[in-house]
Structure formats: structure tokens, C-alpha cells
């Protein structure tokens, strides 16, 4: 029995919220599927077999980390270097998870794990737009599911189509380059601020110069140098602002 002043049940199915999630997610699905398609093509064009590519897309479900791993796999980099690179590319999700997870603290552990695993950029952004505070509200889980399930389905459908399309197209078409272009498209909006832009430029140049480092460690060296640059620039900008006040 619930008393009138008990907290709303976050986890109970709530049909209007579920439908609201579906409705809010629909406009993004085409873009998600297209992005999946590009990653699918890039996976087989970088040398994975159809089975390996299917396994990767169904299990990993993280497009940017998958794309980042492809040139490293092609260059036969050590697995721990690929692992660290994927962690770094995924670090933005740590911030998202810290914002999203407390909304669902009451759910069983295993379900929390799976929801977290499935919540990518778009799902997190749209959920937090509707529920900016952690206050328990009816239908929160239904809304998240309404966003998450179609997102996952669209991504997988696009990706699987890309895998079969990619394996049908001759290598001379150079379709693997679409993967690089896709990384460009996700990076440009991430470097909208001056510190982020400086950091990325320095990281890009460092990676080129450090290309021949053993074990493909040039990439991680570039991340450290680039990140330090970004934080340094941010510090300088803040100090200037403080001096002008």
C-alpha cells in the first residue's frame, strides 16, 4: 500500500512516458542509423570479417570507440593499447553516467548495469532535458526505455546493413575513408571552445610526429600532450578573465 505522500515509483511502467520517449527519439533515429551504417562499412573495410564486425557492433555498441579501434587493429597494436584508447574515447560517458545514474539508484544492480551500458550520447542528452533533477518522478524509467530501445535498434539495423553493404563493395572504392570522415564529424562539435580546439590540434600534430612510437603508443602520448595543452589554455583564459574583472 502506498500512502499519499510516498515517493513516486520511478520504475513502474508508465505508458504516457514510454510513448513520450518514443516520440522524442524518432527524429534522431535516421541519423543514428546512418552513423551505424558508416561504422558498419568502416569495420569490414578495415579488414574485419562479417562475423567479427557483427560481433563488435552487437557487443560493443560504442561507435566512436569502435572507429578508433579500427586503425589500431589494422596496425596490429597490442590489445592493452586498444583498450586504453577505447577508454579514453569513451571518457565523456563517465560524466553522462554520473548525471544519469542517480535517477535510477533504486533499481537492481544488473538492470542498472545494462541501462548504463545502453545509454549513449543522444539518450542521455534527451533524458536530462526532460528530467533535469534527480527528484523521483513517475515514468522516468519508461521514458528512458522509450528513448533507449529504438536508439539501440536503429543503430544495430544501420550497422548490420553497413557490414553487408561494405562487404559487397570493392576495396578500390576507398569506403574505409568514410570512417575517418565520421570521426571528423563527431570531433568538430567537441572542439567548439578554444581550449578544446588547441588541445585537439596539438594532439593531432603530436600523433603524426609520434607515429613511429613502439606499440602504437603515439596515440596515447598525443592524448596526454593534447589534454595538458587544453587545460593550460583554459587556465590562461581564466586568469585573464580574473585579471580583467
Amino acid at each position: 500500500m502506498s500512502s499519499p505522500d510516498s515517493l513516486p515509483d520511478v520504475a513502474a511502467h508508465h505508458d504516457p512516458s514510454w510513448r513520450a520517449g518514443l516520440k522524442d527519439g524518432i527524429p534522431t533515429l535516421f541519423g543514428i542509423a546512418a552513423w551505424g551504417l558508416v561504422v558498419g562499412v568502416a569495420m569490414v573495410k578495415s579488414g574485419l570479417t562479417v562475423m567479427q564486425a557483427l560481433g563488435m557492433t552487437l557487443l560493443v555498441f560504442a561507435g566512436s570507440a569502435q572507429l578508433a579501434s579500427l586503425p589500431l587493429i589494422a596496425a596490429a597494436a597490442p590489445i592493452w593499447v586498444i583498450f586504453l584508447t577505447a577508454v579514453v574515447v569513451n571518457l565523456r560517458f563517465v560524466i553522462f553516467a554520473a548525471l544519469l545514474a542517480p535517477h535510477f539508484a533504486k533499481l537492481p544492480l544488473w538492470r542498472r548495469f545494462l541501462l548504463g551500458y545502453g545509454a549513449g550520447d543522444m539518450t542521455t542528452a534527451m533524458f536530462l532535458q526532460r528530467y533535469p533533477t534527480e527528484k523521483p518522478a513517475e515514468g522516468k524509467l519508461s521514458y528512458l526505455r522509450g528513448l533507449l530501445y529504438p536508439n539501440f535498434a536503429a543503430w544495430q539495423a544501420g550497422s548490420i546493413a553497413g557490414i553487408f553493404l561494405g562487404s559487397a563493395v570493392p576495396a578500390e572504392w576507398g569506403l574505409g575513408f568514410a570512417g575517418t570522415l565520421a570521426i571528423v564529424c563527431i570531433t568538430v562539435p567537441m572542439v567548439a571552445s578554444r581550449p578544446a580546439l588547441c588541445g585537439a590540434l596539438v594532439a593531432g600534430v603530436t600523433a603524426v610526429l609520434a607515429h613511429s612510437f613502439p606499440y602504437k603508443l603515439g596515440l596515447l602520448a598525443a592524448v596526454i600532450v593534447g589534454m595538458s595543452t587544453a587545460m593550460l589554455v583554459e587556465g590562461v583564459i581564466e586568469r585573464r578573465k580574473a585579471a580583467n574583472v
Binding site: M56, F83, V184, A200, A222
Partner: protein
Amino acid sequence: MSELEIWLTIGALVCATAITRSSFWVIGEHVSIPTRVQEMLRYAPSCALAAIIGPDLLLDPQGTVEFSFHNYKLLAGAAAIAYYLARRNMLETIVFGMACFTALRLLL
């Protein structure tokens, strides 16, 4: 890489995704990340992605820097960045960049 190594790599990618996406969900409680750490978490991914793009666009297959008009990936990549900045549309940008790359490759 051998078949087994590739599957092990896929397993490592699953772990990388689980650690970054699910850790805070497993903890469950509200955790505030210090500003300084948030900055690092925010800047690292774009640096890593730039570190993948840089060598991809600038190095030839032998690993030497190719900064010239014969580097079609560099030219097409630069055109794609300009296109994306103007139109902010990912799919169009990829199609445009691929079209530039293919045209350069076939016509020059």
C-alpha cells in the same frame, strides 16, 4: 591479428564501454566529480579522436608525412571539415567528403 586476437580485442572494447558507461550506475549514489577532473574527462575524447584523424589524413601508407596536393585524403578531409562547419550535417558531410575523395582519385 589472428582470429582469436580480434575476438579478445572485441572483449577488451566491451570492458572499456562497461567501465566508462556503467561504473557510476553500479555505484548508484550521487557522486560529484571535481571540476578539474571533469575538464580532463571532457578534453580527452576530442584529443584522442584528433590523434586518430591526424595520422589518417597526413601520413602516406609508408608512414611519411605527405603535405601536398597529391594527398587526396588531406584535401578531401579539409573540404569535409569546411562543409561540416557550414552545414552541421553528418551524413551530408560524409557523402560530400567521399565524393571529393573519389573525384580527386579518379580525375587527377
